[in-house]
Symmetry: C2
């Protein structure tokens, strides 16, 4: 079966490539959503419109498309920071508190239009640190293009005290849950 990952995220590509051969075709859709949706609904909705956008562009109609959207939530959604200053504010806000990382994902089989949209949620407890520690972290430039302004798989290891849930979900691709759906709903075993 031809598998298409509707993402160009290096983390998602790295995780999935351990288990399957696939092409990466990122969606071009604008990530807009209604403010009336709950965070998990937003993540699922965004994964759905990404999958549908890529589906339209694959004319052979022979692909299994997997898309994902990861958001960081603490009181509100913390997007990818638009500046170093905004990243600083995010990391001050996250300090010493528990936030949620939610990945919505969609699996869509073009052949029969079977479709699953689901989400995975992980709680992340940040440690305490001072402003100079934030500055040193920002100096690594790891915050750029990361929801919530950190990367747990990088220097961000020193920010995170504890998690509850799936680790890979924080990296951006909840491979355990996705593998369960692939097995139970699409008859694809990633361990094969």
């Amino acid at each position: 079966m031809r598998i298409v990952l509707a993402s160009k995220s290096p983390r998602r590509i790295e995780i999935l490539s351990k288990f399957a051969e696939f092409e990466s075709i990122p969606s071009l859709v604008e990530e807009k959503y209604s403010k009336r949706l709950k965070p998990r609904e937003i993540a699922m909705y965004l994964s759905l419109i990404k999958a549908l956008d890529v589906e339209e562009r694959i004319k052979e109609k022979n692909a299994l498309i997997i898309s994902a959207d990861t958001i960081v939530v603490l009181d509100e959604i913390l997007e990818k920071p638009k500046s170093r200053e905004e990243a600083f504010c995010f990391l001050q806000k996250l300090k010493g508190r528990v936030h949620k990382v939610i990945t919505g994902y969609t699996i869509l089989n073009q052949k029969n239009l079977k479709k699953i949209t689901d989400f995975e949620e992980t709680k992340v407890q940040f440690g305490n640190y001072d402003n100079s520690f934030i500055d040193k972290y920002l100096d690594k430039n790891e915050y750029i293009d990361k929801a919530g302004a950190y990367a747990i798989q990088g220097y961000g290891k020193l920010l995170v005290k504890k998690i509850t849930g799936d680790y890979m979900n924080i990296v951006g691709f909840p491979i355990y849950s996705i593998s369960q759906h692939l097995k139970n709903d699409f008859n694809i075993d990633l361990m094969d």
Copy 2:
């Protein structure tokens, strides 16, 4: 400061190398312990004798030595499996249940003999799977030389449903806790 990691584990070397320059000098000590100790005491004791063994062999007496020992506990300690058959038994036992991963670690400054021994504990919830799934996992040969017969950072991603605690601790090196001790007790900031 000269840093020595008293381990040849590729996972530990990879994690620490992101944050510090160091040499790897594995201990040669035999990993024996009293059955009367609790699991966390065993992990800490083993890290201590590893650190002391390496300390003796560094004649310059100028190193900060970091050692670690990781054990997997479910009813009893699940060591590195001695055969594929034993690995199969471990994975059958772990299925659908929560086990603990405990890393004991020691940080020892040769210059003033200051020494910290502590541990980190993470709970790991395995998913359900059948025997053919275990066989396919064992075919990857990832179980070899791994306590508990799995590697969460590898194909083992598909075994683990959820964790509570520090992820890096399961990989074998609880860098968050170690960084806290390095900062508070040895005045070394890994983010520098």
